[in-house]
Chain length 340, copies 2
């Protein structure tokens, strides 16, 4: 009748109830050499089973942030990823199944974004396997935008999580002990800060309507990856100005000084085209130039998303030689691959 | 005043006139080991200059399809990419500059999507370098949606172009002659077919308004990569049904038979989240299963886009051992990387 009342959600889906399992099935069909889908538990497992003697990495969280986490399962990164419903924490049973499935006898590191449900459920899962599997946990909380938020006590875990998973994964692949790999993950989290912004809302499939309202001429600075509120709303501005609103708090919070070297990560929220992400990267690079901060490594693309939200986040990781070497180490996952 | 009248286009840009040069600058800043930007000519060049004795590959076209083509410059793929304004062909001078810059004495292959402006301008560029550089040209025209269209005589070049660039690039890297590399490019184009669909329009920065109107409950089947009309409009439907509307014409046109093996490429148009692209890949995989067609290789992601258009395209490439081997060969570009 009214064009405002579509009969279905306008998305590439069959049934809102099956988005996550069908997406995981597609991941498995596209990358059978890399991943195996445990469809009963909605867990993405590294193909080939556990590696005896290797520390295994398990992450997970609500869906809707793809490729995070399932797209990061494979050599040199995660051994398993637990998928919750869209923007909803997975349950402890999933995390327990994943942890038991990947343990190669050297213990399992849980990488957990700091959201209350994720933290609680991973903790319960660790208790469920206690005595059988040695578990260490690192909680990522790199988002400088807000101190507490809708779903968190303390800062949110966002883009830095991708870097934690890559670098800790490389250390595990190189034979690090559980304590050493966990220490590397903690070190990355301690040296990375992030902040994001949104031009538009996203639409959760089961809701069918935008998560939040943002006027045509406004943007949200400090947005969360579930569309939860950030610091403030601003009028739409040139991306050079927007980038400054993100980079300044990051540089300040991280205490980055002239002459330091960073990994600069410009992440798309899902609905922003790559042509704009590279414009944004150019803005970030100019700001770092002005501050005398060297870009030692970079990553540009959609790696931790909020469905089709338009916008981007910036993450800066303070690099030393050890972190740079682990970053460069081979990785072979659906979403991140080099050296192999 | 009215929220429908924003003071600026709601995009991550500074100035609509500088979107392309600033995006190229960002590409250069993010990947200095891979590419060098000729900012006077808006050409992305492979870092390190021409390889003596290697056939070089040059492509290009209107911007707004990123990562195509600049994101495919590097080892095992393109040697240069010419960037036009958004959805506008580059000019012959750009193509001439690119061709001269990359020639290593073994000749240059122009890979041209079949759009009238691109074809004409690459032809003029080939004439401008005649006598200095040996040029061969392959025109891609893999889109089965329409026979002629707004910007073409004959079929449009779309997703198959990515596969042509990867596979011909591998052959050039392996030392193939200009005639042999051109023959490989022609072979890929002859064995690939594509078709796309859109859920939403895109917004060209200089226009600031949607390229076309699509009601909230309708989709466009057979859409072009500039939002140009496809075959028909349909009511929004389950993605299993949409995938069938794309796969059936491709399979039929390519004459794919039970027992054949393909590379299955599910490409995002720019604004569709990855979670949906994998649901779509699953739909495509089920359809190929039903037809007894084996998925030998796969590619899922945003590789030839239409700014922030939501939707996807399917490309199927009939594989033989030689094409599969060239597909698997090392590639190192901003957007596609493996084996190195």
């Amino acid at each position: 009748m009214a064009t405002n009342a579509p009969s279905r959600v306008k998305k590439l889906i069959n049934d809102v109830a099956n988005v996550v399992p069908e997406s995981l099935a597609g991941l498995g069909r596209a990358h059978p050499d890399l991943v195996k889908i445990d469809s009963a538990n909605l867990v993405v497992l590294r193909a080939g089973g556990p590696r005896p003697g290797k520390v295994s990495l398990v992450s997970g969280g609500g869906s809707g942030h793809e490729p995070l986490h399932g797209g990061f399962v494979g050599l040199g990164m995660l051994d398993a990823a637990c998928a919750g419903h869209v923007f909803t924490s997975p349950v402890p049973d999933q995390m327990e199944a994943a942890t038991r499935a990947v343990d190669g006898g050297a213990g399992v590191l849980h990488i957990v974004k700091n959201y209350t449900g994720d933290v609680l459920n991973f903790q319960l899962a660790a208790e469920l396997v206690a005595g059988d599997v040695e578990v260490a946990t690192v909680v990522t909380n790199d988002d400088v935008a807000v101190q507490d938020s809708l779903y968190t006590a303390g800062r949110r875990g966002v883009g830095g999580t991708v870097l934690v998973e890559k670098i800790a994964g490389a250390h595990a692949e190189a034979g690090g002990s559980l304590a050493a790999v966990a220490a590397t993950a903690v070190k990355v989290n301690a040296n990375v800060r992030s902040m994001g912004m949104a031009l538009t809302s996203c639409v959760v499939p089961a809701a069918g309507t935008p998560t939040f309202d943002l006027p045509d001429d406004e943007i949200e600075i400090g947005i969360g990856i579930h569309g939860e509120p950030g610091r403030r709303r601003e009028k739409i501005a040139p991306v050079d100005d927007i980038a400054r609103m993100l980079v300044d708090p990051i540089v300040s919070d991280l205490g980055l000084e002239r002459g330091e070297r960073v990994l600069a990560f410009v992440n798309g929220m899902g609905g922003t085209p790559l042509i704009e992400l590279y414009v944004a990267f150019n803005s970030v690079a100019k700001l770092l130039d002005q501050r005398g901060i060297e870009i030692g490594r970079s990553l540009v693309g959609n790696y931790i998303t909020s469905l089709e939200m338009a916008g981007f986040s910036v993450s800066l990781l303070r690099l030393d030689d050890s972190l740079a070497e682990l970053w460069d180490a081979p990785v072979h996952t659906p979403a991140l691959r080099w050296g192999v």
